[in-house]
């Protein structure tokens, strides 16, 4: 029986090639999209699942409230460590202090590389269960040690055995390699750990870290924990909540609350709003999940529509089969079997498409996914997926076709009733509703990105290069280097700053000024700069004056941005004196000398933060900012800069970033979403059009005789085209009116997350509607014109 069904199904497929290509091709495309999205979602959901102890690992987070605003983040103060170890240790298996990811120069002989990694406490390798290739797992026991990832070890030592060898770190510290561990997989939060060095070393490296040992208000570090086996993350969170308030009652006014964020939430649910966890990347998982389901739905609708449209051709077969003894159930099985065959075929093609496009997709989505050939789970899920799709796509035709009465179809009096096309029409409406909504959504995402990209950023980012200068080698050399670089002709102006142009690295409070409201808890972005900062960036002075080397008093001067003027409530900012709010051992009073235009240093979607630019008195900047000579090409300039750099810092790898590129990275996530949704939209539209194309050809075929009669009676090609197209265009118009409110609602919600956002204009919707309309006309016209031009004598004779 089964063999027979399959045989018939196969012959049916090979006989009607165009139909098969549309049907199988469309379904394969839809499945490929769903498969890729499925792989992507799986990868997202399994971020960090590499770590065996993932259910027990957490990061300590902190919420603090300032002026009624609660901010939440992973930054914690250093004394928390001792508090945990002394008072709370029975809740934990491991408590691990860690630095932020810090790039360091690692040097072995002549090979010098910049590598990312962490200064972290000794239990980390055990907690993360690092796979040790060489050396010992407890490799951070001594202070001057370093553990390397396999790829870093290979890059630095090539074929040598690195264990026991000494690396020069930042050209001043000798660190002995104690272990080489397998690279931590890409889809984990520690994939950027090229090296691990002891926390104990970190504490000795910088004065400010040393000094922070007892300060509960210096939130500059992070802490990872693995909880004890007999407790839960929620329970421990509850216990440690008030630790900071207990240990430093002075800070109670900020209401600091500590809690644990479980490892499974780090990647997908790390956003907080007013102290509440509000998701994060998980929204994209939902977004693409929904897109995947819809695209598959579109493909299934094609299948249903084309199968039922063909029903008249197969009605006779149903009649014959019933008259020679087939029961309805057997026919249902037969049609479901055919559906299964088509879906299976489509799945095989879809797997092919996925395999071929995976590397491209990986690049687009910044992933390292592989096709799970050996995963039983994948094949199991796929089988279920195939069965569900086959059922979804095949059930309607199966039930519909098998319901025909043999007398009707065999007598030749069978006509599909007036309303038999209704379900088909509804399905077309669903398809186009989804497509139009996708078009609108994609256009709005693109618009929002462009809107933010076109936002005035306050400085000139073109032709601006930054060089990291965090190593001690650069200390005290700024003046010299500025002269050298300007003399070389590659640079017209240069400054140093304590943070990159595109970031805020430091926030401060504890100041007093005239008219400061009682109890106001200020929070100001703090950047230390050399006097040429505004000039090198092209930042405009809107009041007062820039720093000048001519005035010695400028070393206590401050430039503030326009937002800070409003934030501090200053009427006449220039000349205002800033004093320390801490009256024991206060710093020297500072003076506001000028106001600069707001520049975007953080998210281009958010308002500019109130900020101060203060004179860098210690020549301790983290970046050189260089304005390139506009009369030379960028590559010439860079070559010259590199040469000068190498002359003065032969031990340090030359690294540089174009600020405009760095700034562009702020859009990476949105651009990625925009591109992906653009591609998926295009595919959704393609699938819908493919289905519409197939459907029109069937309708045209069905109405061949009618068209013949009409033509004999004098209908023009236009009349016939109009007759055939009208029905479909009506459906598309209905779809548009359903899609627009849905798209408006969803996209408006999406935009609410961006304080700086595009205003939704009516023409976006009109454009999407016109686009869908034109697309339909083109698709339908292909068949309609062909049918309209056919010779009526031919079509009438075949009856």
């Amino acid at each position: 029986m089964l063999k027979n069904y399959l045989k018939i199904a196969w012959r049916n497929l090979t006989k009607h090639k165009a139909y098969t290509i549309i049907n199988v091709g469309g379904l394969a495309l839809g499945m490929a999209v769903t498969l890729i999205i499925g792989l992507w979602i799986n990868d997202e959901l399994n971020h960090n699942s590499h770590f065996p102890q993932k259910d027990k690992i957490a990061q300590v987070y902190q919420s603090q409230t300032m002026n009624g605003q609660t901010g939440t983040g992973p930054a914690i103060p250093r004394p928390l460590e001792m508090a945990m170890r002394e008072d709370y240790m029975d809740n934990f298996k491991y408590v691990v202090m860690s630095s932020w990811n810090t790039p360091q120069y690692l040097k072995n002989g002549e090979t010098s590389l910049s590598r990312n990694g962490y200064f972290i406490q000794r239990d980390a390798p055990e907690m993360l269960d690092l796979k040790i290739i060489k050396g010992e797992k407890d490799g951070l026991r001594e202070i001057n040690t370093i553990m390397l990832s396999e790829s870093s070890a290979n890059a630095l030592f090539s074929n040598e055995d690195p264990i026991g060898k000494t690396l020069k770190v930042n050209s001043e510290h000798d660190m002995m390699v104690t272990a080489v561990y397998e690279d931590i997989p890409f889809n984990t939060s520690f994939s950027d750990a090229d090296y691990l060095m002891p926390w104990a070393k970190y504490v000795t490296l910088w004065d400010w870290v040393k000094r922070s040992e007892d300060y509960w208000d210096n939130n500059s570090f992070q802490m990872f924990v693995q909880i004890a086996d007999n407790t839960t993350i929620e329970a421990v969170s509850e216990k440690i909540r008030d630790v900071k308030k207990i240990k430093d009652p002075d800070l109670v006014e900020f209401n600091p609350e500590m809690f644990l964020l479980p490892m499974e939430d780090w990647y997908l649910r790390s956003n907080f709003q007013n102290g509440k966890q509000v998701g994060g990347r998980i929204k994209y998982v939902w977004l693409f999940g929904i897109i995947g389901v819809f695209v598959l739905l579109l493909a299934c609708i094609n299948f249903m529509n084309l199968s039922t449209a063909r029903s008249e051709k197969r009605a006779k077969e149903v009649g014959i089969r019933k008259s020679i003894g087939s029961q309805r159930g057997q026919l249902i099985n037969q049609f479901l079997g055919e559906s299964f065959l088509v879906v299976l075929l489509a799945f095989i093609i879809a797997v092919g498409i996925v395999v071929l496009s995976l590397s491209g997709f990986n690049e687009l989505a910044r992933k390292e996914m592989e096709f799970p050939w050996t995963s039983l789970l994948f094949w199991g899920v796929s089988l279920v997926f195939i069965l569900i799709t086959a059922l979804l796509a095949g059930s309607y035709p199966a039930l519909y076709l098998s319901s025909f009465r043999p007398v009707d179809v065999l007598k030749g009096t069978f006509k599909t009733g007036k309303h038999s096309g209704l379900p088909r029409k509804i399905l077309v409406v669903v398809q186009f509703t989804v497509s139009v909504a996708f078009i609108i959504g994609t256009v709005i995402v693109m618009q929002q990105i462009n809107h933010a990209k076109n936002r005035p950023i306050g400085y000139d980012k073109e032709g601006l290069v930054q060089i990291p200068t965090m190593s001690q080698d650069f200390t005290g050399k700024f003046e010299l280097m500025r002269d050298e670089f300007i003399k070389s002709g590659a640079v017209t102006e240069m400054s140093t700053s304590s943070a990159p142009t595109t970031r805020i690295w430091s926030n401060r409070s504890g100041f007093n000024w005239e008219g400061k409201p009682e109890g106001f808890q200020e929070d100001l972005a703090w950047t230390e700069v050399s006097p040429e900062y505004a000039k090198s960036l092209g930042l405009k002075i809107v009041a007062g004056r820039d720093f000048s080397r001519d005035f010695a008093s400028d070393s206590l001067g401050i430039l503030i941005n326009e937002t800070a003027v409003k934030y501090m409530g200053l009427q006449d900012p220039v000349g205002q004196i800033i004093t320390d709010s801490d009256t024991e051992d206060p710093f020297e009073p500072m003076k506001i000398i000028g106001v600069v235009e707001d520049m975007i240093a953080q998210s281009p979607y958010e308002p500019v933060k109130q900020g101060w630019y203060v004179f860098d008195r210690n020549d301790n900047g983290s970046f050189y900012n260089m304005r390139l000579n506009p009369n030379k090409s960028a590559s010439e300039n860079i070559a010259i800069i590199e040469r000068v750099f190498k002359e003065h810092f032969p031990n340090i790898p030359f690294q540089y970033d174009f600020v405009d590129e760095e700034y562009g990275k702020k859009f990476a996530s949105e651009v990625r979403v925009g591109r992906l949704s653009g591609i998926f939209t295009a595919l959704a539209i393609l699938i819908s059009c493919l289905g519409l194309f197939g459907l029109t050809s069937f309708v045209a075929e069905q109405r061949t005789k009618e068209i013949g009669v009409r033509k004999v009676l004098g209908a023009s090609v236009f009349n016939v085209w109009n007759m055939l197209s009208k029905d479909f265009l009506k459906l598309v118009v209905i779809s548009c009116f359903i899609a627009v409110p849905i798209a408006y609602y969803v996209m408006n919600g999406w935009l609410q997350e961006y304080p700086y956002r595009v205003i939704l204009k009516w023409w976006i919707f009109a454009l999407a509607m016109i686009g869908a309309f034109l697309l339909t006309i083109i698709t339908v016209s292909f068949q309609a014109i062909k049918a309209a031009k056919s010779n009526p004598t031919k079509s009438l004779r075949t009856e």
Binding site: K316, I320, R321, K322, S323, G325, Q327, Q330, V407
Partner: protein, 220 residues
């Protein structure tokens, strides 16, 4: 007695009026009969045949087939009944276009759940009996009308039905092919198969043992 129709009525509702397709049909058919149903177009010949073949329902009356009361049976039992005892032959042959001659013959056996080896033997027998062994791998479109109808009859016969219902079996054939088919029916009848045919042709009706005339759904 093979089947019996008592006071069968069938109608359709049209504008508040009943239009009768079959009106008070009483018919008794014995095993081994060869009956021809005649009448002008629209007189209800095919409807009657479909009612007898259980492909079509009726609105009033009783229908007994062997031991069973068809009017009381559910769809599934009815289809089991006709699957078991009745074979259909159509004017337009109604072979499955996508299947070869051999596969077309096999089809009813599949629905009756015969085993593969049995099916093969029965199909081979039938091909042999109808002298179409050489055509077994051809598709219907590759055969002449007469040959297609031969296959149609072979398919109707393959599961050894007690009754063959033929709706104008020669209607699409030329006279020579038609004669051959009618001869075949006569021969089958002599071998014991009950046959009921619908026909327009007086000549074909002569092959039968009894003629029923219909006019406007009524037996005359």
């Amino acid at each position: 007695m093979l089947l019996q129709l008592n006071n069968i009525f069938k109608w359709v509702q049209s504008g508040g009026q009943r239009i009768f397709l079959l009106k008070d049909i009483n018919l008794e058919v014995q095993e081994g009969e060869f009956i021809s149903i005649m009448g002008p177009s629209g007189s209800g010949k095919s409807t009657l045949l479909n009612v007898i073949g259980m492909l079509d329902a009726f609105d009033e009356g009783e229908y007994h087939f062997l031991e069973d009361s068809v009017h009381n049976l559910k769809e599934k039992h009815r289809s089991n009944l006709y699957k078991e005892y009745i074979g259909f032959v159509f004017q337009q042959y109604h072979l499955l276009d996508d299947l070869t001659v051999q596969e077309n013959l096999e089809m009813p056996l599949i629905y009756k759940k015969f085993k593969g080896s049995e099916r093969k033997a029965m199909v081979a027998d039938m091909l042999d009996r109808f002298n179409i062994v050489g055509k077994k791998d051809l598709f219907p479109a590759q055969l002449s009308g007469g040959q297609q109808q031969l296959v149609g009859i072979a398919r109707a016969l393959i599961s050894n039905p007690k009754l063959i219902l033929a709706d104008e079996p020669t209607g699409n054939l030329n006279s020579k092919q038609g004669e051959e088919i009618m001869d075949l029916f006569k021969q089958l009848n002599e071998e014991g198969v009950t046959i009921i045919q619908v026909t327009h042709s007086e000549k074909n009706a002569e092959y039968g043992s009894r003629i029923i005339n219909l006019l406007d759904g009524r037996m005359i």
